[in-house]
Assembly symmetry: C2
Homo-oligomer: 110 residues x 2
């Protein structure tokens, strides 16, 4: 499943590299990692709860949450005036697997 990446991709970052990079970009911010950790502790989590924990403005936290949702790492469900955010464990596991695969290919390739 990994032998189709050097046909049209020799120039500048194949689709695979691009996809992995995009998901890692969502993870590569301390606040977002902290948000994920906090989401993991409580099953239900609204925006304000995160705001209260990290000392960032509400608008900033909302943006970080949006980035995580758009990356597919966090699921969003409106609940009355609240906004419920929850970790997408499958997606997160998938990211972990992607990184592991990248590292593995770097070791096996040598």
């Amino acid at each position: 499943m990994a032998e189709s990446l050097m046909e049209t991709n020799a120039s500048c970052g194949g689709p695979d590299s691009r996809a992995v990079a995009a998901r890692l970009a969502a993870l590569s911010h301390p606040a977002r990692i902290e948000i994920l950790k906090h989401l993991s502790t409580s099953s239900s989590c609204c925006c304000r709860e995160v705001v209260d924990r990290l000392d960032l403005a509400q608008s900033t936290v909302s943006q970080h949450l949006k980035i995580l949702v758009e990356a597919g790492l966090v699921r969003f469900e409106p609940d009355r005036q609240r906004s419920r955010y929850a970790i997408d464990h499958a997606a997160l596991a998938d990211v972990s697997a992607s990184v592991a695969a990248l590292v593995n290919s770097c070791c096996s390739g040598r």
Copy 2:
């Protein structure tokens, strides 16, 4: 070894989140992922070889390599007029482990 992260870090991203984020940031660019893949195929790799593969300017590739070196993912060794770059497999494995640990903590914490 992981119970010391919520003492002074409740505000904005503990040292751990910061460190993980920094290393992931180095990985979160298609060109750099592609560089890592290329480094894995040949044991010795100079800057020009990478330039020749990705179609980016030499200065751009040099900057990406510098970022990878500063992140500790790639080792640098000057060799005459060349510059030898090689993957630091241990560091890369460590990043993979960090991501796995983060994902794991997000699942176990729930």
